[in-house]
């Protein structure tokens, strides 16, 4: 201490009027502490969290689309993509294995940062605070829910020392808990109460309340809680859409991976499997366009249609999914007539610029006279309604046995990078 004082004094004398402060701040970007200390910073972080989900959405789609029957790999694709497509040689060190895992906890960490910061922000309406918190819970739940469709085990929280992986059923349960909590956060407030939050902190085109219910419906269905799934799906306003948008300088990540990089494209076999006259094939894919350069003729690839342009939005859920969740829940609960009615409502949809519409004739109770036939039809509808939404893998796990179809791969392995750095991960 004495030495420090002596030298410090000397240097002070030497430095005369110059600024000697050793505590510098980073002028280029705020530190975490600075960012979360005020409302503007928390709003920006909330938006950053939404951006993380929007820009990494491709990682939630890639493996489910490649290990099932949605996408194929062009010849210039990375070895990692090819391994998913063929189901051979999936290496735990590949980015395709670690990306969904990594981005999930990046998003979860950001969501936690917001959730922890909001109570300390002063001068903020209760509605604004509830909106910020609920939306953070929603995005954390979405990230966990998407990841749980790709890994058998994973932690439910981000932790600097590494989280403890739990079976994925528990992860779905945690997603549902977060969503229910978000829903009750928002319950006391009218849309007017939330308007400040919505206009300042929500990404344009995104609908928080309906997405919470839609996600509740999705994850209740995955966990077999059919009544809750049905109730939640019924609450979703099917006239609304909820979008991840990519205005410049942003870029749709699926367009970027599939079209710009040219690694992956829709399989023509997917298009051929559709019912004649199904308008959804042309909505999602362009089967007439030339496949990506260098694609071998033995592998027939189409091109992306909805994601065929740089700024194309991605729907977080489509109305048809809600109808099909209702139908599946009703079928599982034994109400086949209601299930058939919902299937037909979904088949009759005309769609919008950003959501698909099959425009197919209704099916009869004779055609769908058993529960298995109803479930098989739901699986077929979901294949075309929910193309490249990252849900196909889970759909095949749940409904594949009804039609005898299995994905090529059960789950992604635990990423190598997590195995070597997380002491709570064992057996990999």
């Amino acid at each position: 201490m004495r030495i420090r004082l002596t030298f410090g004094l000397l240097a002070l004398v030497a430095s005369a009027a110059c600024n000697t402060g050793l505590d510098v701040t980073n002028p280029n970007s705020p530190t975490e502490q600075a960012a979360l200390s005020n409302l503007d910073g928390v709003i920006a972080t909330e938006l950053g969290m939404q951006d993380q989900f929007a820009t990494s959405f491709n990682t939630y789609v890639r493996a489910p689309a490649l290990v099932t029957d949605e996408w194929g790999t062009a010849s210039k694709a990375l070895a990692a993509d090819i391994s998913l497509f063929t189901g051979q040689g999936i290496d735990a060190s590949y980015g395709v294995v670690s990306d969904p895992y990594y981005f999930t906890y990046r998003i979860a960490r950001t969501a936690d940062a917001v959730i922890n910061a909001v109570p300390n922000i002063s001068g903020i309406t209760p509605g604004f605070a509830a909106g910020l918190t609920a939306n953070a819970k929603l995005f954390k739940a979405m990230a966990l829910g998407m990841a749980a469709q790709q890994y058998a085990q994973l932690p439910i929280d981000a932790s600097v020392t590494g989280g403890t992986p739990v079976p994925r059923a528990q992860v779905f349960a945690e997603a549902i808990r977060l969503l229910e909590s978000a829903r009750s956060d928002l319950a006391p407030y009218s849309d007017a109460d939330l308007s400040g939050f919505t206009s300042r902190a929500v990404s344009t085109g995104f609908d928080v309340r309906n997405t919470i219910d839609a996600m509740l419906a999705r994850y209740y269905l995955f966990t077999g809680a059919y009544q809750q799934a049905l109730d939640a799906a019924k609450r979703v306003d099917l006239t609304k859409v909820s979008l991840l948008t990519y205005p410049d300088p942003g870029i749709n990540p699926i367009y970027n991976y599939g079209v710009v990089a040219g690694y992956v494209a829709p399989l023509k076999s997917w298009a051929r499997g559709a019912e004649s006259g199904d308008q959804r094939v042309g909505f999602w894919a362009d089967t007439l366009a030339a496949p990506p350069v260098g694609t071998p003729p033995t592998l027939q690839l189409a091109q992306f249609k909805l994601y065929g342009t740089r700024n194309a939005p991605i729907p977080v859920y489509v109305p048809g999914e809600m109808r099909l969740i209702k139908a599946e829940a009703e079928a599982q609960l034994g109400d086949l007539p209601s299930a058939i009615a919902d299937i037909n409502a979904e088949r009759a949809e005309t769609g919008t610029a950003v959501t698909p519409g099959a425009q197919l004739p209704p099916l009869t109770a004779v055609q769908l006279n058993t529960k298995d036939k109803v479930l098989a039809q739901i699986l077929q509808e979901r294949r075309y309604e929910l193309f490249a939404q990252g849900l196909r893998w889970e759909d095949l796990r749940r409904l594949g046995p009804v039609v005898g179809v299995q994905p090529r791969v059960d789950f992604l392995p635990m990423p190598q990078a997590e195995c070597t750095t997380n002491p709570n991960v064992t057996g990999c």
Partner: protein
């Protein structure tokens, strides 16, 4: 101040007297004036700038241009001694007596050239100016003449090549003003910088080597600059340069001295009438060799694939347009300086103008330097000095290296059936078939210009309140503004290219405040204590601003305000340091000196808990030849000089980023709204400096006639707490954190042998042989099995040298033949298959990409340089310098690319087979060979004829006709010849410039020109 016998009371008394400002007046003192003249012993020419000290006092003077000196002081009559020192000459002690005459002429004092220069005063890292013999660590001094006379060097860094033992100085690139990388005793970091700290007259100057626009290696590779700050000082202004190579000597610079320190001392004024010096030099140069390209009269596979021929074997026209890429380089240097002064005021002022065209067309450099120095003595206790230098430099570059728009890049990427000539019908330069860009279009129409404006200045005062106490204060200031302008016209890289302008600028303001107090004290007649207490504060502020645009309208060559798509960016960095040091040097007569010191320093880049760091040092120097027993012993018969020395010191290194201690949120946007995203790099408030601990020991010895001198140094540098990216669990929400985890060791020896081989009346031959060997080993990384890859395949792995090449190797059978089409075991050994280097459709499993091995280090195992000076008669001097490196590997990626695309000379004779309807070749599009880096790692050992010079001093009568006192004409050459087995264009260049780890990769960058110069020096 002499105290007859040591006792604490006497010491206290003496100290008290010293502080009271008096000595011990034994006799009545009188005001004497002592004058004399210092000359070179052989030529009897006057020696300016020699330091004359009255022994036992603080009185002294420097000689003027005529070698004259005058010392005035109040002194006791009786016997006295003058000590005369001068860089490069042996110290002289002259006895004289002060008597009744108050005006004493001691006459001419002749100084002999000293090969060891132990009395040379060194400053860098010593706290206060000190004779070399008192310092236990090695400090290399290079006198100004060696830099001024270095032929066609154009900048200090190049002039130092081959002249500093243990320094590997490489010119990375042959473009004019091309950067140089300097490694002192190996590479001591991994993520941090490896270039030494540069100090100019006490000013710690900016030495950022980040390129503003990547013209060689791609952006994001770091340290890839084409220029460096050492070239901002005109060589003609340099008095001498000091180099300290490791922690043992550099400990005074504490937390930023891990890579050693190079201090430049500029010329000062000398008393006497104004002396005017004019130097003019004409330079011309060319590329040392051309790329050898495919000259086959018939089409090969590359020609067919890329549209140059219709079928294999048909006659083709080939184009070797290297004469349209390379040109003769011409340049000129003109410098005018004036110096002079009175006893109280001394001044030096100079201006230099330098112009040079490069060996690649459309490249050039224009420099303008101005420098002035003023020293004013206010009274016998106080003086101050103001130095200022300004440089303006404009350089024109071309893209090259791994830039797909590169001029040489396109040459090696394109089959030689491509004709790049301008097509008057289309009004365009035809696109090249693989990269698109036409190299002649780049030369004719692109612009890549760097503009530097820089001021380096300092203000210092020297106050001697007591004869035993000196107080030095220095304020140093460095303001560096660099702007880059890079214009790529629309359509120039391809039909879809909309053009681009990049116009980044970097502004750096840097200052340091140094205060040093030095106190001299005699503990007894034999024991002398020098205490130094100092403080230093530094501040660096850097602001990088970029403005870019694409989508240019025809004729638009600026970022503009509309139409084009603009982008911009800014990064501001602040680093501040604060620290102090205490040093004690105990001298026992002239025999033994022991120095101990402690630095205590803090940097804003580290967390508050780790911020303050201690850096100790200890060294000892024992002049055995001063011992009473020496003269009578066998050692005394064998040697005239023997000094043993040993040193230990610790230094630190700054972190890769100024803000690594924080969890920084990244600035982003979500659908048009400003957003923040938590960083993927976790902040580490526990981050501390990388720490180097260096031991060194050695000796200096000379034979009795002083004609042969030997220096030997052994060193061991252990660098610990190396900052590395330590991966965090994916489930942390981070990817990694910078942590102090790594360590590595450099150890080696340095041997210098200086001799006066011949000393006849009219012929003298001075020779200096410098050998150094360095062995580097990585000791610890985050995990023992980590292999970190930098650049293409420079690796960092435990047990290996930093940057050793690590890549795929050929599958070979038991006889060592390459077997491409076979079956292999897990180690790439051939199980079945016949020797062959052409893959076929039917080839078996390959092992080419996954298995890698270490393929050699880009750093030399040892270096040897041999410098020779011949004095012939009284007018002629001839000198040459051979600079050699041995055991280093170079990755010849120029050859790799040219062979893959069919442009290489060897493609003319390659074998191809047709298998399954497809043609497979030995080289062209042979992806197996292309990814087997073993094929391209070559022995890069070389010896360069670095310097060759002939200097002729005209007879004074001839010089007098133009009014000059003396005139010298010189004819010289630099890098005239290279002896090497390396097959590429130049084994010295590196794509990655001054990058810490990525080294030794030759890939499409300009070779170092062979330069000739004709110069004239006039002194008025």
């Amino acid at each position: 101040m002499a105290v007859s016998r040591f006792s604490p009371r006497a010491a206290a008394l003496a100290l008290g007297m010293a502080i009271a400002g008096g000595g011990t007046p034994l006799l009545a003192q009188q005001a004497y004036t002592i004058h004399g003249r210092v000359v070179e012993a052989n030529s009897l020419q006057p020696l300016p700038s020699a330091t004359v000290l009255l022994v036992g006092t603080q009185l002294g003077a420097a000689t003027d241009n005529q070698g004259q000196f005058t010392i005035r002081g109040t002194l006791a009559p009786g016997a006295h001694q003058l000590q005369v020192t001068h860089l490069g000459h042996a110290r002289v002690v002259r006895d004289f007596t002060l008597g009744t005459s108050l005006n004493v002429d001691v006459g001419a004092i002749a100084m002999q050239t000293n090969p060891i220069q132990l009395n040379e005063v060194v400053v860098t890292g010593t706290g206060a100016p000190t004779e070399r013999r008192k310092v236990g660590s090695t400090i290399t001094s290079v006198p100004g003449e060696q830099i001024n006379n270095a032929p066609a060097a154009q900048s200090v860094d190049k002039a130092l090549q081959g002249k500093v033992i243990g320094a590997v100085i490489s010119q990375n690139n042959g473009q004019p003003g091309g950067g140089v990388s300097i490694r002192l005793r190996g590479t001591g970091s991994i993520l941090g910088g490896a270039e030494p700290l540069i100090v100019v007259d006490g000013v710690i100057v900016e030495n950022n080597s980040e390129a503003l626009v990547s013209l060689g290696a791609n952006a994001g590779r770091g340290g890839a600059a084409l220029t460096n700050s050492l070239s901002d000082i005109a060589p003609g202004d340099i008095d001498h340069v000091e180099v300290v190579k490791g922690a043992a000597a550099a400990a005074l610079y504490g937390s930023r001295a891990n890579n050693g320190v190079i201090q430049i001392f500029t010329k000062r004024g000398t008393t006497g009438k104004p002396s005017v010096a004019f130097h003019t030099e004409f330079l011309t140069g060319n590329a040392p060799k051309e790329y050898s390209l495919n000259a086959s009269p018939t089409a090969g596979r590359g020609d067919v694939l890329y549209g140059g021929a219709s079928a294999l074997g048909v006659p083709v026209t080939r184009y070797n347009y290297q004469d349209q890429i390379f040109q003769q380089s011409n340049g000129a240097i003109n410098q005018l300086s004036v110096s002079g002064g009175s006893a109280a005021t001394k001044y030096y002022a100079s201006g230099q103008w330098q112009t040079q065209t490069g060996i690649v067309r459309s490249t050039d450099m224009n420099n303008f330097n101005a420098r002035s120095s003023l020293t004013q003595t206010l009274n016998d206790k106080l003086s101050f000095t103001v130095n200022g230098s300004y440089i303006q430099r404009k350089s024109d570059f071309v893209p090259e290296g791994e830039q797909t728009q590169g001029v040489i890049t396109t040459l090696i990427f394109t089959p030689t059936t491509y004709n790049p000539a301008y097509n008057p019908t289309t009004g365009r330069y035809p696109y090249s078939p693989i990269l698109g860009t036409n190299p002649l279009d780049v030369i004719a129409n692109w612009k890549a210009q760097d503009n530097t404006n820089r001021f380096i200045g300092d203000f210092s005062t020297n106050w001697t309140p007591l004869s035993s106490l000196t107080v030095n204060y220095l304020f140093g200031f460095d303001r560096d503004n660099e702007t880059f302008y890079y214009y790529q016209p629309p359509l120039s890289t391809g039909a879809a290219f909309t053009g681009s302008v990049q116009n980044p600028t970097r502004d750096v303001t840097r200052f340091n405040n140094d205060l040093t107090l030095t106190h001299e004290y005699d503990l007894s007649r034999a024991l002398h204590l020098t205490s130094t207490l100092g403080g230093r504060q530094t501040s660096d502020h850097s602001n990088v601003l970029s403005a870019n645009a694409s989508g240019l309208s025809p004729g638009q060559t600026t970022v503009g305000s509309g139409g084009a798509t603009p982008t911009s960016g800014q990064t501001i960095t602040d680093i501040r340091t604060l620290g102090g040091f205490l040093q004690e040097r105990l001298g026992w007569g002239e025999r033994l000196f022991v120095t101990g010191g402690l630095n205590y320093e803090a940097s804003s880049a580290f967390g508050s808990d780790q911020r303050w760091q201690l850096f100790p040092r200890l060294n000892a120097s024992w002049s055995v030849d001063q011992e009473p027993f020496f003269a009578g012993s066998f050692l005394g018969h064998a040697l005239s000089t023997l000094r043993l020395r040993a040193a230990y010191g610790e230094t630190g290194g700054q972190p890769p980023s100024a803000y690594s201690i924080f969890d920084n949120y990244a600035v982003a946007s979500r659908a048009g709204k400003p957003a923040l995203i938590p960083g993927s790099v976790a902040g580490n408030p526990e981050l501390k400096p990388e720490r180097q601990r260096e031991y060194e020991a050695g000796f200096d010895a000379a034979l009795p006639d002083n004609r042969v001198a030997l220096e030997f140094t052994w060193y061991h540098k252990h660098s610990t707490d190396l900052v590395l990216n330590t991966p965090l669990p994916l489930s942390s929400g981070y990817s990694f954190q910078l942590q102090n985890v790594g360590s590595l060791t450099n150890k080696g020896v340095e041997i210098g042998l200086t001799s006066l081989l011949l000393n006849r009346h009219s012929f003298q031959w001075n020779s200096r042989l410098a050998y150094s060997a360095n062995d580097s080993r990585v000791d610890k990384l985050v995990t023992p099995n980590d292999t970190l890859i930098f650049g293409y395949f420079n690796a960092v792995a435990v047990g290996q040298p930093v940057g050793e090449f690590y890549g795929a190797y050929f599958p070979r059978d038991a006889q060592g033949n390459i077997v491409y089409n076979g079956r292999y075991d897990a180690n790439c050994n051939v199980i079945a298959g016949t020797a062959g280097i052409i893959p076929s459709a039917a080839r078996g499993a390959t092992c080419k990409t996954t298995l890698k091995k270490f393929l050699g280090s880009p750093d030399p195992k040892w270096t040897l340089s041999w410098n020779n000076d011949f004095n012939i008669g009284s007018h002629t001097q001839v000198s040459f310098l051979l600079d050699g490196r041995f055991g280093n590997k170079v990755a010849n990626f120029s050859r790799r690319i040219s062979e893959y695309f069919g442009a290489g000379a060897s493609n003319a004779n390659e074998q191809c087979v047709v298998s399954g309807g497809t043609t497979y070749c030995q080289e062209t599009l042979n992806a197996d060979r292309h990814t087997t880096y073993e094929a391209f790692v070559e022995d890069g050992s070389f010896v360069k004829l670095r310097e060759l010079a002939l200097r002729y001093t005209l007879d004074p009568s001839i010089a007098g006709r133009v009014g000059a006192e003396s005139a010298t004409i010189s004819l010289a050459g630099r890098n005239l010849h290279t002896w090497t087995n390396y097959t590429g264009i130049d084994p010295e260049i590196n794509l990655f410039s001054a990058n810490t780890v990525a080294r030794g990769v030759e890939f499409g960058t300009s070779p170092i020109p062979r330069m000739f110069s004709l110069g004239l020096n006039l002194n008025f």
